[in-house]
Amino acid sequence: MEQQPTNIWIWSAIAVLWLLPLLSFVIGLVLWRRRKDGLGKFSTSLLAVSTLLSWAIFGVNFGVPESFFSVSWWTVGDTEFSFSLALSGITQLLLVIVSTVSLLVHVYSLEYMKDDPGKNRYFACLGLFTFSMLGIVLSDSLLLIFCFWELVGTSSYFLIGFWYKKESAALASFKAFLVNRVGDLGFLIGICLIYAIFKTLSISELQGMVDAIQWKGEVFNFEKNGELISSSPFMFTVISICLLGGAVGKSAQFPLQVWLPDAMEGPTPVSALIHAATMVAAGIYFIARVFFLFTPPALFIVAFIGAITAVMGAVAAISQYDIKKVLAFSTISQLGFMVLALGVGGREEGLFHLATHAAFKAGLFLAAGSIIHALHRFAHETHAHFDAQDMRLMGGIRRFMPTTFLVFLLLALAISGIPMFSGFLSKDAIITKAFSWASAEGGVRWIVPMLALFSAFLTAFYMSRLVMLVFFGSNKTPLLGNKGGLTENGKLITIPLLVLAAGSLWIWFNWNPFGQGSWLMDLVATDRSTISGLYLETTNEIPHKTIAIISILVSLTGVGLGYVMYDEDEHQAIAELEEKTSKPGFWSELSFNNWYLNELYDQTVVYSFNQLTKASSWADRRVIDPVVNLTGVLMVVTSVVVGWFDKKVVDGLVQLTVRITEFFGNIARSFQGGAVQKYIAWSLFFTLLVVTWILIK
């Protein structure tokens, strides 16, 4: 394997940019209970350095083949587990995305969390998160990825439950961690299986082995250190699906997407960073990293999971009233899109969408947070009590918060897939890829691009609904009306918004707003072989133009429909709303309740889990303990019997037998009374037993 000589400068820079957030975390831990302000700014400046470095690396190292850094971490038996990092195009891209978004969120949070007593804890957790997320990005070892994978989950747990005094927040964090753990089991099993076969967990080594793979009929043959390792394609499908499990959990794919909407209990900047831009995208990134291991059947499953999630999320987003929930479901849907992209073989397309989505979804969340923050401030000033996230209580906000409105509008257009924005480029690329994939094999696969289109349509629809409800029409906030009082937030909030909005323009990705793909896709592309590549797949290129037109049309229809449906006379709108809440139809209920997945899981998984818990506790107290104690009990019983035999045998026997016959009664009574003679009788009895034994023998 040709390897770039380790560039000491690059790697030192990486070390610095990676460890600075950790430093921020450690200092945050130390200063956690101090009520001083400086920490936030300090963390932000640390992160600024990180971000600069990441851009610098992006620039300096652009187009350079991947390079590795590896030291021995620990050894068990003869197997060495190394601490290995990799730097390639995909890494650089993610480094930039993560650090930049994180920096923006940090800046934003300076304002947003200004008055929160736990803000030191908050920044510490953000530091931990950024560190671990960068860890995922940089790691070359599956084990390391898993470690950081769990760590991001943990920081997410802490941040969702940041306001731990709120029961719902505590519960949501619990749920998020648990659901993620379920997914991680798959990841872990996958790792273990890979280790069992290859005795290594290094992605680059695995890639090397796949490069040199020998396809012998039913089995794959690998060579490692002169040893021949054989494995069946089926095993690879199993491994791929297991690894997919991790991604399904982390990226909130069907059927594990239930945690993400609840995770909105965390502070909004956190939602932007973790639950929109970066952590949830880690699943996609991860699959992209181990894409070469996936077999066609596994990819087929990936595509369908993505498609299903995309539609389910989009449907659920339609009828939400909580502004963050809409965005959460939208995130699920978009993540589904990315997974779909991977499934149809569009590794680069998926990553491209990841990048664009990171920008516009983070921006959307931050913008929503901006509104919420302003409303909170307003509520605080006027002592009003209302739900600051309920869209039914908003409306007409564009008048009060023009910057936020502008940003929100741009980003909504981006996500809706309207040309001139990044979203169009990436979505279009995915849909194109999906169509070519489907047309190559045909059959049931056609469902995937259709669902993709459908979800694109829904996306446009619910985004325009959101914009209409929040920014247009009349204001329904209690005590606010059309008077002033609600004001735009400060610069620390608006500047990150504007940056992200700017980032969602087409120009950064492709000079041609209707163009195909992006240079980013070339950056992350790799020429290494994949397992699915072994199966000669016929790809049938469908002209990009056709697809682009279709997708633009679909998006526009969605936007238009949303605009028409929600831009009516205010009274009518309200009446309609009331009607909707009082008499919900089946579909809107289904959508509102996210397909009743929570209820389904409560009734099945959680219920059986609880039953099992009860059953095993019952078994422990009532079965195992007693059964194991049975020997003891038997012992005691015997002792009681012996004791009883010694003193009372006879009373009982007597009373029983006397009634039956005098004769037997006499015998029985014979053992009674006069202790000596009783003793003698017993001894004689046993002696006679022995004698009997002698006689029979």
Binding site: G643, D646, K647, S670, G673, G674, A675, V676, Q677, I680, A681, L684
Partner: protein, 101 residues
């Protein structure tokens, strides 16, 4: 011929002694039973000695048994007298304060 007489007799006396020991409530009657058991053994000893006349083991054994039986009886009676003073009975069934709790 003589063979069976002695053996049968001793067996009979032995069993009778056992029966006495088991059935009588009066402690002295029980003692009588014990004496019968001893006598049964003695009959055997003397009879068997006649079968093996080289040494007089059997006869001497009988002497010892007789002596010891006497000693034991004396001791027993001493205890019985004391017992009678404290319990006012010689009925063994009534002399049983030592029972397991």
């Amino acid at each position: 011929m003589g063979n069976s007489i002695y053996l049968l007799l001793s067996a009979f006396v032995f069993s009778a002694g056992v029966a006495l020991v088991l059935t009588r409530q009066n402690v002295i009657a029980v003692l009588i039973g014990v004496e019968l058991v001893f006598n049964a053994a003695n009959i055997n000893f003397v009879y068997f000695n006649a079968l093996y006349p080289e040494r007089l083991d059997g006869q001497f054994f009988t002497l010892v048994v007789i002596t010891i039986a006497a000693a034991e009886t004396a001791l027993a009676l001493a205890i019985i007298l004391k017992l009678y003073r404290t319990y006012h009975t010689t009925n063994l069934d009534e002399i049983s304060n030592l029972v397991e709790e």
